[in-house]
Symmetry: C2
Subunit: 438 residues, 2 copies
Amino acid sequence: MKDIFAGLIGFGTIGTGVIKLLRENEELIRKRLGARLVIKKIADVDIETPRSIPVEREQLTTDVNEILMDKDISIVVELVGGCTHAKTFVLDAIRNGKHVVTANKALIATYGNEIFDAADDGKVNIGFEASVGGTIPIIKTLKESLAGNNIESIFGIMNGTCNYILTKMTSEGRDFASVLKDAQDLGFAEADPTYDIEGVDTAHKLAIVLSLSYGKRVELDSIYREGISEINQQDIEFAGELGYTIKLLAIAIRRGETIEARIHPTMIPFDHILASVNGNYNAFHLVGDASDSVFLHGQGAGMMPTASAVVGDMIDISRDIIAGIWRRVPLRSYKKEGIKDIKLLAMDDVKTNYYLRFAAVDRPGVLSAISGILGSYNIGISSVIQKEKKLERNAVPLVLTTYKAREKDVQMALKEIDKLDVVLGKTTLLRIEDDTLR
Amino acid sequence: MKDIFAGLIGFGTIGTGVIKLLRENEELIRKRLGARLVIKKIADVDIETPRSIPVEREQLTTDVNEILMDKDISIVVELVGGCTHAKTFVLDAIRNGKHVVTANKALIATYGNEIFDAADDGKVNIGFEASVGGTIPIIKTLKESLAGNNIESIFGIMNGTCNYILTKMTSEGRDFASVLKDAQDLGFAEADPTYDIEGVDTAHKLAIVLSLSYGKRVELDSIYREGISEINQQDIEFAGELGYTIKLLAIAIRRGETIEARIHPTMIPFDHILASVNGNYNAFHLVGDASDSVFLHGQGAGMMPTASAVVGDMIDISRDIIAGIWRRVPLRSYKKEGIKDIKLLAMDDVKTNYYLRFAAVDRPGVLSAISGILGSYNIGISSVIQKEKKLERNAVPLVLTTYKAREKDVQMALKEIDKLDVVLGKTTLLRIEDDTLR
């Protein structure tokens, strides 16, 4: 029986999971592959601290070149993270004719073009299923199963930390800061949570998904992005009253030749299946022009779910190696000659429904002043909630939802409204996706 | 640019969808594939009736041999349905060295072994993604993405007609017969609905999914099967009171070396994501030993969703053809030498939770008589609902749910209970899946 040798760079949680999985399911994988998938070397800066799974001393090294230069090794698994060392290791592996499997979303989102070009030149494959949505087969579904479809829209819950926090805030009525602290204590959130809660992680994932759906790398900075740190109980409660739940969504919608792409907290209807995504799960709601909606849900992170995706890619690449080919599906699912730039719609030109919460002085004429300004910007009001409950300085919360309106118009109207004497403080704006979500 | 020629046998709804999709997304597919995917011939007994998409007269034939014998054609798409002609066409195509794409679940479930063996001998590939779950990438996910996992359990809603009927019965409080009639009028259900509502269609799909997960064809008759025609409003209401909703589930659970496989109406908790599957959607909740749960949801039938899966398979096979190989993933995801028989657990030995509704005479001592018999069979009671509402003959509905019990014990206990003077008529039994559903 043939042996396929791999080397692992980065022996942290995921790396340990990969070793564990390959060991525990060795026989199963051999039966599926018709070959043995063997980790020949594991490189890490720390080879002293014992991991949860025992490894032979001679399998370990602190020198990545023992992997990168090993002629037996055909697959390099990069689990270092970050974009400095990881990038060097991946490019070196490619240059040495080795296939690469990585869970590194920042690397693929930021340096995808460079890495994919190098892989094309070097005739090697890059497996990056684990970089988006952990265990969820989103990459393979976009590149292969839905290959006959134009992707009309993608609505994704791509960050488990944010979804955990929003779920707890909604079900337990607690505030952002206290739930964040819990998440940190439980290890779901980092000590510095910015990367997760401000939507940076989500932007990396959306950029990858966009490039698989529409063909080219997207500049990360061109994706509009808002995080969840400003969400409060008042808005969660009003959302509930209106029949919505609040999720941090990554959204991509095909608008002819341009693509609308944005990340922000979003109100979605209770009865849409995305509203059932709770806790630290991730989910992707894709609509293809033929497939209609395809909804994928699972653990977006964690030791074994991520290891499952890494090993899935290793098996995929091994099947190519056994078949004597180096790759059969283009890295972005498009042949290089078919790739064109993705034009993103400017956020100003996005049209959606809005939830606006004003802190209004409880006095006649306020609603008329606000709705007058909205009207002058062509923004129609679809519902109004006014509560008697007093806020500070004699203000009451006034909630309006709008018909489809243009982002620029809404922002300009709010600028004007926030200058009114009868409006105290900055108005809260949240976007509602309703009929856009099939 | 290379042309890959395909022939289509069966120009019905799905066939028309395939032609439409290949035509409308021709450029997209060419960009992804680096080749043109061309339908050279379409065979059907009826080539006179115009379809919703126009086709050149010379592309049509009533003689399948014009496809099966055409040396240019490398992919035969079988959309005839049934197991007689379809089987002959598929085997002839294989013998002539042609790859096959089919949406025919009955054929794969019944003659999978024979067809797959022939395909191995003939060095051709069989694409059957469309045969289970329509647009949902369940086949590819099991064969490729989750290839490193032992599949611990599969809970699937695999029949859209049943799910539509149960959803309407639940949301509108209507009875089975009236909703079935609606479904027939809307074209969701056949004039003779037996195949759908008695779970035969679901059994075909579960058999295919079992063979991909565990390696060998399963005898259809060995899968325990109950349909939905006995479900009534009373049980739907009691289920709601207990926090459950009723779905027709196909269930497979790995129990060491044996597999538990069964199809029946099942109570599942409201807050489980499978309970959010409404209308005519299909869904699969898979648990791998590493991946944890992976949940896939989409249209299980329909012209374009099914065409999407067929075209996905055509692209997949074309990518192999372009790479110069005939197949890289074994048809059941296991190499032939790794395939062993699947041992199914006898239904008698299944252990689960039960919902039992008795029509009990409203008289002291009844609960004690019933619970006494249950106790003598080691069946523990976890909850009781007794209503004052009278049924016919002075009976009241008495509902018990049980802790985990063995099917055989429950059946024997019910036989004894149904003989009691204080129990009128046959007791209703439904199974509850709660903690088995992660």
